[in-house]
């Protein structure tokens, strides 16, 4: 299979050979990564550094009877052993979560999930720390666990959060949105109504680098330097100030090179806090890095939504309304990272890409004896679940109506002229041309030929499936008045300094985990100022060196920070105009801009380049009134709205009728992320997200047995896809700029993760049509696909 290189011409994508600004340039960060010179958390070694290890609960639900640390403390290399009781004294036993709940840092009363943190050992080396864990004697009084979310609200279910006063059940919240009466009325009079339970099982972000921290508390100056694997260093600084009581100006958070985040590194884990406590207690730096099992078993999972979907339509295939009820398993503590004022994040965009008369959804969140979390894992705060639901439902409807799924979608898309489009649950989509993307995708796929091939194969008993999905993403939170993380409004700062020789440094608040910020953001400045990208250094990840901002997750870096960077560069450009006027002894109004240079209108030979102006600003030129002697600026960008990237995906699978094995043969992804900055980086993001989608659709799940044991504690049990399971990706694009974003860019980080699982599952269900199969839940393992062929499909949870 060849990758499609033949792309339609597209001015906003920029000329690929253009030396300045946008275009396909190689990543500035790659020389250090390909030479093994990246600097990750575990590469940090400080003088006198100690090592921490966490003792974790072997059972899912148990009262803590006693902890005896005597033998561990007697180990010659052990410096300290910290228990929940010690933390109670420091008022640190419980920490706030990102969803207005609290989470135990170390167990004080009761274990609530397998793998929960029970004690922390600080020792001279990591081996001793690990060995000493076995010397801690803990007595548990085991309680019946609650594993099945569907039983969480039964009257006899064990109450997990009995430490919360007055709590007698496991209900966290009931929440709804949309007009129920209106929706029910549309359903009541519709020709066709289909319903389907759709499960998005618990999965894990599984970054290659696990989480960790190195805490260095300087008792003399009262300063805490905390190196962390974090996607949001500034938010962490504020939270540490609030939780640990260390004044914020005395805290420096450094996020070094990050080996993948996917939302796993948004929250503050007990291990980070314990490293800080360990450093305060020992007076020495303390490193804590979790192992793979700890990462999979205790850190933020994603999804875990059981969705009852219903869709109403006319018999001609006009979709009228959608409704759903969701049972959301949040684990033992409600630690979901989400920035809205509601507990289901962006799930209310389940209306998808279609023009509906009405929509309603309700979500019930429950506690279970499982790890907490529910992260932004490449899901833009639960858009992934929303898109999966609607795209599965549309396919279920297509089958019912006996219509082609692509045709059905084309019939119901929001039309280009309807943008900005207000959906039925309060979102205003900025821009879109859905039909164009869908048609391009069908053209690249050779859709008609594929359907013909499928018909021939069916005659021969071969199982080939073609799956379509269309998604509208919602990314780039704020605006700050609507979106916040624990009260911190979602805006991002940028600072730009142009040095006297015309080289620039731009400081940003967001932290890359592989997205290529050092390249993309330099390209934005380059485009605005006409300085080549290689002359622009991007600084990020250190709170002492960067302006405040909310961080990288939910595909928000380009929509928010990218906007900040464009605006700060424009601010510098305007300042340069004033200085150029002084240098050229003309009025600024008489100057005109061309890339990299202000010149006199009507006389292009008279002008000053940015480098000349920078030298002038720092030199001896008499500056105009109110202009100070530098070429620097700063901004904080509060986006006026979110951005709404979209895409049309087509997947082709072959299913082995004898074994149920699925082979993804082709995958065509047409993405529209508005203005394209670096097409190579965009394609990289898409390839990664599609691979992720194959993982979720075919193999990923965190399962528990009835005793509450996590069955996915290693990469032998939690499968993630390899190069062998993915086809050569075929990508294409359209460009519909965001009307409100400074450069029209929308964000691309999560599109493919959001859009691909429904395309793959729809393809599998399509392949199994001869067996009368209308739905298969993920993961579509050989056993689950075969069960569906026998008419015995069961939900995974």
């Amino acid at each position: 299979m060849t990758v499609i290189h033949d792309r339609p011409s597209n001015p906003a994508a920029g000329d690929e050979d253009r030396p300045i600004g946008y275009g396909r340039i190689q990543r500035k960060e790659d020389p250090r990564f390909v030479r093994g010179q990246g600097h990750y958390l575990d590469d940090i070694v400080l003088p006198g550094m100690l090592h921490g290890a966490i003792l974790r609960a072997p059972v899912a639900h148990a009262r803590l009877v006693s902890i005896d640390t005597t033998n561990a403390l007697a180990h010659p290399k052990v410096v300290a052993v910290i228990t929940g009781k010690d933390l109670l004294g420091l008022k640190l036993a419980w920490a706030p979560t990102l969803s207005a709940d609290v989470q135990a840092v170390l167990v004080t009363d009761k274990v609530r999930f397998q793998g929960q943190e029970v004690a922390f050992v600080v020792a001279e080396d990591r081996y001793a720390a690990r060995d000493a864990l076995e010397l801690i004697d803990v007595e548990y009084d085991v309680l019946p666990p609650l594993v099945d979310a569907r039983k969480a609200l039964d009257p006899d279910a064990p109450v997990i959060r009995d430490e919360i006063e007055g709590r007698t059940d496991n209900r966290i919240f009931d929440w709804e949105i949309g007009d129920k009466a209106e929706t029910d009325a549309v359903f009541a009079s519709a020709d066709v109504v289909v319903s389907q339970e759709v499960v998005y099982p618990r999965v894990h972000p599984a970054p290659m680098e696990t989480c960790g921290a190195v805490a260095d508390f300087d008792a003399v100056n009262g300063r805490l330097t905390l190196y962390e694997t974090t996607q949001a260093p500034h938010v962490h600084r504020t939270l540490f100030a609030i939780v640990a009581g260390i004044p914020e100006h005395k805290i420096r958070i450094v996020s070094p090179d990050i080996g993948g985040g996917f939302g796993n590194k948004v929250g503050i884990y007990p291990g980070y806090i314990l490293a800080v406590v360990g450093s305060i207690v020992s007076g020495r730096p303390v490193k804590w890095v979790e192992d793979r099992s700890e990462n999979l078993m205790s850190t933020s999972f994603a999804r875990d939504y059981i969705m009852q979907g219903e869709i109403a339509a006319t018999k001609e295939g006009k979709i009228l309304a959608l409704r759903t009820h969701v049972l959301a398993d949040h684990g033992a503590f409600n630690a979901t990272a989400q920035p809205t004022k509601n507990p289901a994040g962006f799930f209310s965009i389940f209306t998808g890409s279609y023009d509906l008369l009405a929509a309603h959804c309700s979500v019930t969140g429950v506690y279970t004896n499982k790890a907490p979390g529910g992260v932004a894992y490449a899901c833009s705060f639960r858009v992934t679940e929303a898109v999966y639901l609607v795209e599965r439902m549309v396919d279920v409807l297509a089958r019912k109506l006996n219509m082609d799924p692509a045709e059905l979608r084309l019939k119901n898309f929001i039309k280009p002229e309807q943008f900005p489009y207000a959906n039925k649950t309060g979102w205003v989509y900025d821009s879109g041309n859905y039909e164009a993307a869908m048609r391009l995708s069908m053209q690249l796929a050779g859709y008609e030929d594929l359907r013909r091939e499928q018909a021939e194969k069916r005659e021969r008993g071969e199982l080939m499936g073609i799956g379509v999905s269309f998604f509208t993403e919602v990314v780039g939170a704020g605006p700050r008045k609507h979106f916040d993380i624990v009260g911190l409004g979602m805006a991002d700062g940028a600072e730009l300094r142009v040095h006297p020789t015309g080289k620039a440094v731009v400081r940003i608040s967001v932290q890359s985990q592989g997205q290529g910020h050092e390249t993309t953001f330099a390209q934005i400045v380059a485009e605005e100022l006409g300085i080549p990208p290689e002359d622009i250094e991007v600084v990020h990840g250190d709170t002492d060196q960067t302006p405040f901002g909310l961080g990288t997750y939910g595909s928000r870096s380009t929509p928010v920070s990218g906007g900040a960077v464009a605006l700060v560069a424009r601010k510098v450009r305007e300042k340069a105009k004033l200085i150029a006027g002084a240098m050229l002894e003309t009025r600024p109004e008489d100057l005109e801009w061309e890339k990299g240079r202000w010149f006199v209108k009507g006389d292009p030979s008279v002008g000053k380049t940015i480098a000349e102006i920078a030298m002038g600003a720092h030199g001896t030129v008499a500056l105009p009134e109110g202009v100070d002697g530098n070429l620097d600026a700063e901004v904080t960008y509060d986006p006026p709205n979110l951005t709404f990237p979209f895409g049309a995906y087509i997947c082709v699978v072959d299913v082995d009728p004898g074994t149920g094995q699925v082979k993804v043969r082709r995958f065509i992804a047409v993405d529209d992320c508005g203005t394209r900055i670096n097409p190579m980086i965009i394609e990289g993001q898409v390839h990664g997200g599609l691979t992720d989608g194959v993982g979720m659709a075919l193999m990923e799940i965190i399962e528990f047995d009835e005793a509450g044991n996590c069955l996915a504690g290693s990469f032998m049990d939690y499968l993630i896809p390899t190069a062998m399971e993915v086809p050569d990706w075929e990508t294409g694009f359209t460009v519909t700029p965001s009307p409100h974003h400074p450069i029209g860019a929308k964000g691309i980080g999560e599109s493919a993760t959001v859009g691909s699982p429904p395309a793959i599952v729809n393809a599998i269900v399509d392949a199994l049509a001869p067996f009368g199969v209308t739905h298969v839940d993920m993961p579509c393992t050989p056993a689950r696909v075969w069960a569906a062929m026998q008419g015995r499909a069961r939900p995974p949870i």
């Binding site: 060995d131 099992s293 193999m699 393992t781 069960a787």
Partner: protein, 292 residues
Amino acid sequence: MQIPAPFDYVRATTVDNALELLARYGPESRVVAGGHSLLPMMKLRLSRPEWLIDINDLYELDFILRDGNKLRVGAMTRHTTLLESDEVAALFPIVRDAELVIADPVVRNRGTIGGSLCQADPAEDLSTVCDVLAAEAVIRGPRGERILSMSEFHRGPYETAVGQDELLCELRFGIRPRSGSAYEKVERRVGDWAVGAAGAAVTLAADGTVDDAAVGLTALGLDHPLAEAAAVLRGRRPDEELFARAGTLAAAACDPVADQRGPVDYKRHLADELTKRALRRACDRAAQMQEG
């Protein structure tokens, strides 16, 4: 980083030296070959030997050698060596079939046939391969050398006839004319252990009927080759109906357990389906050999 419990380490230089070290350090010592089964278990602290005796310098056990009508394979032969050997592929195509789906190149570059057999994991693919090829295991210990059949070698999951103070040194495979073999495996993902697998080896008589046949299953709860299948096949001309009968027998004889890889009914179905596929391919190959 996953950290094993403390242990001591020593490198053996020869087979005799390894046997000496095993005797010296006693029951708490273990040899390490490729380490791809032992080390993961140590990192999870499920296995905690006090002494590791490294046998990776025992080049005398790393060989593939034709000796009359036998193929002799040293216990330290790596998966990759087996996979890449054209001689092995020509004589016993089942080996290449299996090696292609054992783990991934990183594991195959280190993991050994000896380690695989001694680990005796019920999902170990080479155990089934050796079973259906009726291999012999050459074991050396303080009391000298002994040669065991596979049925004597296997003692159930994670147990073999190799004593604590002994080493598996070699596997011997009988070369027969007009024979073919094949391996069919279903895995959830490349590098995963089998959900289920079947191996078959067939020898045809000059008239094209089955002279001898063996069918074995991996990860499906059947420790030894399926005797009934051999009985049904012998003397018959291979055809779809025969394969189907063998498949039915395999499904009836196996005793799989439900786990994350699948429920019992699916695994039983795989025993049937994969037995058919393996036999079909083995017979095709045997027929080709007959022609060629």
